[in-house]
């Protein structure tokens, strides 16, 4: 057992529990308020990317509760709320400004009041508080520095298969994953609970190693230099735009599954599952009688129909998720039946998004690999040679980030590892691709935008950017994702656009009347996830002078 304090109260948690797990007790903890409207927020993604679980731990600001293990004696505080996220007085902002606060054009007059506006707005913004000034700050954690022939980022099925293949070939791979890596992986350097956030590939025509930088769960810096890098970074559950999509209880499939795995009381009993594919099936199977309904944009395939009817779960095919109700936690959703326009309210205590997977591709973009738009999946994937070679020397990709079907993930990982180590694996001309439910495509978004609106539609939860603001930007003549991002702030928040840009692409395509690939994309810049200054500082000076070319 670990003993810790949360706010004023003493708490305990089982060994190995994350802070999020320790705080989840039949209810999702609400630990943070949103930046502009102080809307109640709760964990959404479970993978350390959204802004829904930021806490302060022993003075350290913006710690991701879902990624951080509880330690004895920890002092954990909620952030950005007065006095607490559940009863935040500033929550009145949300109610007082149903159409949002116009920080672009508002607060300009009268001129003598500008300073006062600035003071107030400044105080509302920002998440964490800095630690107090102390005479002797604790010494920084020791950085780690590894070198090897092959670094593998991602320890899912394809990454692990790649690691095993490398080991079989007599090479000790360095395997990095944001989550824990099982100690059954013998013969590899395992960097579990470590995020690789910066990738510098070898320059073309040069005999140099690729460098990865990142940090571990203690905030210590990590550097990995490797002759070749294999990205098996996988995919993640896509966001979905609807009214109230930022409400506590709207979660990704990933988070729902994580909260089931532990010996804790899951925070939901009546979950609506959104999606009609394999992921939704996985959820129905895992959640069992905690499922209250399945909603999908298109038809629902027979396996899912069977699994649902065995558990007496009602199915709502051909439906649009229109609205989530409830303020501090979701209590119902409204769906609109496609075609008929008929509305239906389903009561629930969670909305689980399992409708679509998106590639985890920022490192590929960062490395300068050529990316292509995959129209069926409506996402960017790397252009790959057979076996998984990207267009960047000694950079490879495998598994779902490479648009490979789950059943071929292992084989693609093995092939890429072999190729990366100079082998010549026998590979098919193309791996099978994952199934995509195209019912969530452009037509869905067009219908969605035509629905009546009652409350706020938050297009970018991290920055509290409203759909109305995106529409206003387009109406004023600002076109393309790059400009709309700069105009509204959409995509500039803590998740780096992961949970708003995919939907924004579809929305802009609809509003601008051109295909999503013409709307542009955000330049993916390092780091992939926020990386502590203290983790990167030890490597200053290690990158030499740039060669003048």
């Amino acid at each position: 057992m670990r003993r810790f304090r949360f706010g004023r109260g003493a708490r305990s948690a089982p060994d190995g529990a994350t802070i999020l797990e320790a705080l989840t007790d039949a209810r999702l903890p609400s630990v943070v308020r949103s930046v502009r409207y102080h809307r109640p927020r709760a964990p959404f993604c479970g993978t350390g990317e959204c802004a829904g679980c930021l806490v302060r731990v022993n003075g350290r600001p913006n710690v991701r509760a879902c990624q951080t293990l509880v330690r004895d004696g920890d002092r954990i505080d909620a952030g950005n709320a007065v006095p607490s996220p559940r009863f935040d007085l500033l929550g009145v902002l949300d109610l007082a400004f149903p159409h949002g606060i116009d920080t672009l054009r508002g607060f300009r007059r009268p001129r003598f009041a500008v300073r006062a506006y600035q003071r107030v707005v400044r105080r509302l913004a920002g998440y964490g508080r800095l630690p107090p000034v102390t005479a002797s700050p604790p010494p920084p954690p020791e950085p780690r520095d590894l070198e090897g022939r092959l670094a593998i980022v991602g320890a899912g099925p394809s990454g692990l298969a790649a690691a095993r293949r490398a080991i079989a070939l007599g090479v000790r791979p360095i395997v990095i994953d944001r989550g824990a890596i099982g100690d059954d992986l013998v013969g590899a350097d395992r960097l579990g609970r470590t995020a690789a956030t910066v990738l510098l590939p070898p320059r073309p025509g040069r005999d140099e190693a690729a460098t990865l930088l990142g940090f571990d769960a203690n905030g210590a810096g990590v550097r990995v230099r490797a002759g070749a890098v294999l990205l098996a970074t996988g995919s993640y559950d896509a966001p979905l735009l609807f009214e109230g999509n930022d409400r506590p209880g709207v979660v990704t499939a990933e988070l729902a599954l994580r909260l089931l795995r532990r010996p804790l009381r899951p925070p939901f009993r009546r979950a609506v599952i959104v999606g009609g594919g394999a992921r939704a099936l996985e959820l129905v199977t895992s959640l069992g009688d905690r499922t209250s309904a399945v909603v999908s944009a298109g038809e629902i395939p027979p396996e899912l129909v069977r699994a649902a009817s065995e558990r007496a779960v009602p199915l709502y095919p051909r439906s649009i998720v229109a609205r989530a109700h409830g303020r501090s936690s979701v209590r119902a959703i409204t769906i609109a039946r496609r075609g008929s326009g008929e509305d239906l309210e389903l009561s629930c205590d969670a909305v689980v998004l399992a409708h679509r997977r998106l590639p985890h591709h920022p490192l590929l973009f960062q490395a300068g690999a050529e990316m292509r738009w995959e129209p069926r999946a409506r996402a960017y994937y790397p252009t790959l040679g057979p076996g998984g070679a990207t267009t960047v020397p000694r950079l490879f990709a495998a598994g779902s980030v490479a648009f490979v079907a789950p059943e071929a993930a292992r084989a693609s990982g093995e092939a890429a590892a072999e190729l990366a180590l100079g082998g010549d694996p026998a590979v098919p001309t193309a791996w099978p691709t994952p199934p995509v439910d195209e019912a969530w495509g452009a037509d869905y978004v067009t219908e969605l935008l035509g629905l009546p609106r009652r409350g706020k539609w938050v297009a970018c939860p991290c920055e509290d950017v409203l759909l109305e603001e995106v529409e206003a930007a387009v109406a004023r003549g600002y076109r393309g994702l790059e400009v709309v991002k700069r105009y509204t702030g959409l995509g500039t928040g803590l998740c780096q656009g992961r949970y708003c840009v995919p939907e924004a692409l579809a929305v802009l395509a609809a509003l601008e009347g051109r295909p999503p690939e013409a709307v542009g994309y955000l330049t993916q810049r390092p780091p992939v996830v926020p990386t502590p200054l203290g983790a990167l500082a030890p490597f200053a000076g290690a990158f030499g002078q740039e060669v003048v070319e």
Partner: protein
């Protein structure tokens, strides 16, 4: 986009802050028709990639005067242009880490005060009152001017874009200015990827690419594009009011209205625009080192994102403003280094004045394009550059 007409009074290359302000001053004075062409999207250049710093503490009177006038313009911006640029006058705090650095700040301070600005020299304790938690011994003193500040660059671009269009100027995006048409030794037109237009006057406000564009016009200019990187951290509750700068290594950082720490540090890169705008581990680690060494309590703050832009450097650190004597009709409004945003309102007015035939109130020896022909003589140099 295409041109609405084939003949213009003035064609401005570059829809950054300088090009748009120039168009604004021209239209206000009734000059026209005016067109602004840009090959990128709005805010694609330095005007969408900078740190938003606005300061009046400079080494030379000439720069201080432009900066002072610009501060006044930015204070009025919200009421004149319809957008809130959140110009927050939280001061600029210069840090000195050595006695020599402090001596230089003292010299700057004397010039700044002689221009009527209330800058103050600070001891280490006073510096600590402005910035809590500085590592012991990291600072021997500083200079501070409360009326300097920071702003949000984007809304300034939006406000100008909408205003110049409302004033009748055209802004054509996605058009690359490929060359200048010269007749009888003077400007006769502008060739672009969206077609050729007739115009007697071209303004080169192409920011980091101004050297490239001048050379396309056959003019040899000393402008050099240099890549500069910058980063933003996760948003924090307010803890820092001034922009903090350290000339010895070019470190600068401020906390924006949104709570992010935004800043950079000098990391030399190969000159030129050829390599685009990638972000480098070299910069990220150098900036991390500089921030953590100065303010150890920032150690656990996460870097959220980094980006890159180009400075448009001149040998003497002054912008180039005015008509090029070698090619009548070709007007420079470029060479702004790392401080074009803060000088844009005043500098663009001078560029526009040249075109309107007004008497310039700037010393051509300091700002005119002909000054480089004489070679590096005893001319003044504006050396207080950062980032």
């Amino acid at each position: 986009m295409t041109f609405a007409r084939d003949r213009y009074g003035v064609a401005i290359v570059g829809a950054g802050i300088v090009g748009l302000f120039t168009a604004y001053h021209l239209r206000r004075a009734g000059a026209g028709p005016v067109v602004v062409v840009d090959r990128g999207f709005l805010s694609a250049g330095g005007s969408g990639r900078n740190g938003g710093g606005v300061r009046q503490q400079w080494e030379t009177r000439a720069t201080i005067r432009l900066a002072k006038e610009s501060v006044a313009a930015y204070r009025r911006f919200g009421t004149e242009f319809g957008y809130n640029i959140w110009f927050r006058q939280g001061g600029y705090l210069f840090l000195a880490d050595t006695a020599a650095a402090l001596a230089r700040l003292r010299t700057v301070h004397d010039v700044v005060r002689s221009e009527g600005l209330g800058s103050r020299l600070l001891g280490p304790e006073e510096v600590g009152r402005h910035v809590a938690g500085i590592a012991p011994g990291a600072v021997v003193g500083g200079a501070y001017l409360a009326t300097d500040g920071t702003l949000y660059p984007f809304p300034a671009v939006w406000g100008l874009y909408e205003t110049v269009r409302a004033l009748g100027a055209e802004v054509v995006l996605g058009a690359d200015a490929t060359g200048v048409i010269v007749r009888d030794g003077r400007v006769a037109g502008l060739a672009t990827s969206a077609g050729t237009i007739t115009t007697p006057t071209i303004v080169n406000a192409a920011g980091g690419w101004s050297g490239e564009f001048s050379r396309r016009a056959g003019l040899d200019v000393p402008n050099v594009a240099s890549r500069h990187e910058i980063l933003a951290t996760e948003p924090l509750k307010p803890f820092l009011d001034p922009m903090v700068v350290r000339p010895s290594d070019g470190l600068y950082f401020s906390q924006t209205m949104r709570g992010e720490i935004v800043g950079g540090v000098t990391v030399p890169h190969a000159p030129g625009t050829a390599r685009g705008v990638p972000s480098s581990p070299r910069f990220l680690t150098a900036m991390a080192r500089a921030l953590v060494d100065l303010l150890p309590r920032l150690r656990d703050v996460g870097i959220l994102r980094a980006w890159t832009g180009f400075y448009d450097d001149t040998p003497d650190g002054f912008p180039v403003l005015g008509e090029d004597p070698r090619l009548p009709g070709f007007v420079h409004a470029n060479g702004f280094g790392g401080h074009g945003f803060m000088l844009a309102p005043a500098a663009s007015r001078r560029a526009a004045a040249t075109i309107l035939g007004e008497r310039p109130d700037l010393d051509p020896a300091e700002f005119g394009p002909a000054r480089f022909a004489a070679g590096p003589g005893a001319r003044a140099v504006e050396g207080l550059q950062l980032g």
